[in-house]
């Protein structure tokens, strides 16, 4: 091939490269911000539970088994959307489902659990986002996988459904289950 015609292909090559880059960019979701907390200890806290203002719990609840920490609120439509899947996980899977009831009010949150069922082993009550900030929460729902030593292993932004559970969360949960390591 003569030299001049192969040089003429350079702009085409650049165009294809740029198009591929932009196409890849289209598939990224800018609202999913990677968390710097992965592989770091869960933040320490002392919070009332949703059901009992007199009961204070700390990060010690994570010791010994894998937990899902699900940030939710009664005002959050996507939380309602993932609720059935959380119910299924709580029923079928050996994992502790911990709720972080976020920027919500007790009566409304409890009303939602009465109506749709309560998948949470423990529900932390964080009405003013004092604890949520330490988890880097910026929306609901968000779900963290915390291993049995209290280290955050994964963060899911947005609702969980069966596909997300199977492809994204279950592998992490199984990897960090104490009896399997």
């Amino acid at each position: 091939m003569p030299k001049s015609s192969s040089r003429a292909l350079i702009p085409l090559g650049l165009f294809i490269g740029l198009a591929a880059l932009l196409f890849y960019g289209l598939r990224l979701d800018p609202s999913e911000i990677p968390s710097p907390l992965i592989d770091k200890p869960a933040p320490s806290f002392e919070l009332q539970t949703l059901h009992d203002p007199n009961r204070l719990v700390t990060q010690d609840i994570f010791m010994g088994r894998v937990s899902l920490v699900n940030v939710w609120a009664s005002w959050c439509p996507s939380c309602r959307q993932e609720h059935a899947e959380l119910m299924r996980i709580a029923r079928e899977i050996d994992v502790q489902v911990v709720g972080l009831n976020w920027k919500d009010s007790r009566p409304e949150a409890r009303q939602m659990l009465r109506q749709y069922g309560d998948p949470y082993a423990i529900n932390l009550y964080d009405p003013d986002n004092r604890s949520g900030i330490h988890w880097g929460v910026y929306g609901a729902p968000e779900t963290f996988v915390v291993d049995g030593t209290g280290i955050i292993r994964h963060k899911r932004i947005g609702p969980i459904d069966r596909t997300v559970w199977e492809t994204e969360i279950r592998p992490v949960v199984e990897q960090y289950r104490p009896d399997q390591s």
Binding site: P30, P36, G132, Y138, G139
Partner: protein, 164 residues
């Protein structure tokens, strides 16, 4: 990019757009964050202008009406009241939300391309331009052949005729 007056206007614009985009949330005013020292008020406003609202990502904390932005403003305010420095507060937020919470990305190896890329492209363009000019200059003058010179003379004579 610091907050200059023109940026304030820009922020106001963003603020109005953001108010629409983020839906109705209780309105806030910066007046509720009072400091005894006016210089601290200035540094508070300067700092929240450098921090990004993670919900409305094109807004700084200074301009966002989102609920989470208000929570973060309150946290920044509390930390300043406790006497924390700007660097402390930024480190606190970056540890929890990542570099994304900074409106201006920090200069570090993973962002070198972002910060230096434009200069790289300017340098590349400049190099290609200079090379093209040099090559043009190096080309020998095109001499006209005897036939071409005769034809040129004829054409010039024709235009001269028409002008008369």
């Amino acid at each position: 990019m610091m907050l200059h007056p023109t940026h304030r206007q820009l922020l106001l614009g963003l603020f109005l757009i953001g108010a629409l985009a983020c839906g109705p949330v209780a309105a806030f005013t910066l007046e509720e964050f009072a400091f005894e020292d006016p210089a601290q008020t200035d540094s508070f406003r300067d700092l929240i202008g450098k921090l990004r609202c993670l919900v409305c990502q094109n807004e700084s904390l200074a301009g966002s009406q989102a609920g989470v932005a208000q929570d973060l403003r309150e946290e920044v305010y509390r930390m300043m009241q406790e006497g924390k420095t700007e660097d402390d507060i930024i480190a606190f937020l970056v540890a929890r939300y990542g570099d994304f919470v900074l409106y201006e990305p920090p200069l570090k190896p993973s962002t070198y391309l972002l910060w230096l890329g434009p200069f790289l492209f300017i340098a590349l363009g400049g190099y290609l331009l200079v090379r093209a000019i040099r090559r043009k200059q190096a080309e020998p003058e095109q001499e006209l052949s005897a036939d071409e010179r005769a034809r040129l003379k004829q054409l010039l004579a024709e235009t001269d005729d028409r002008q008369d």
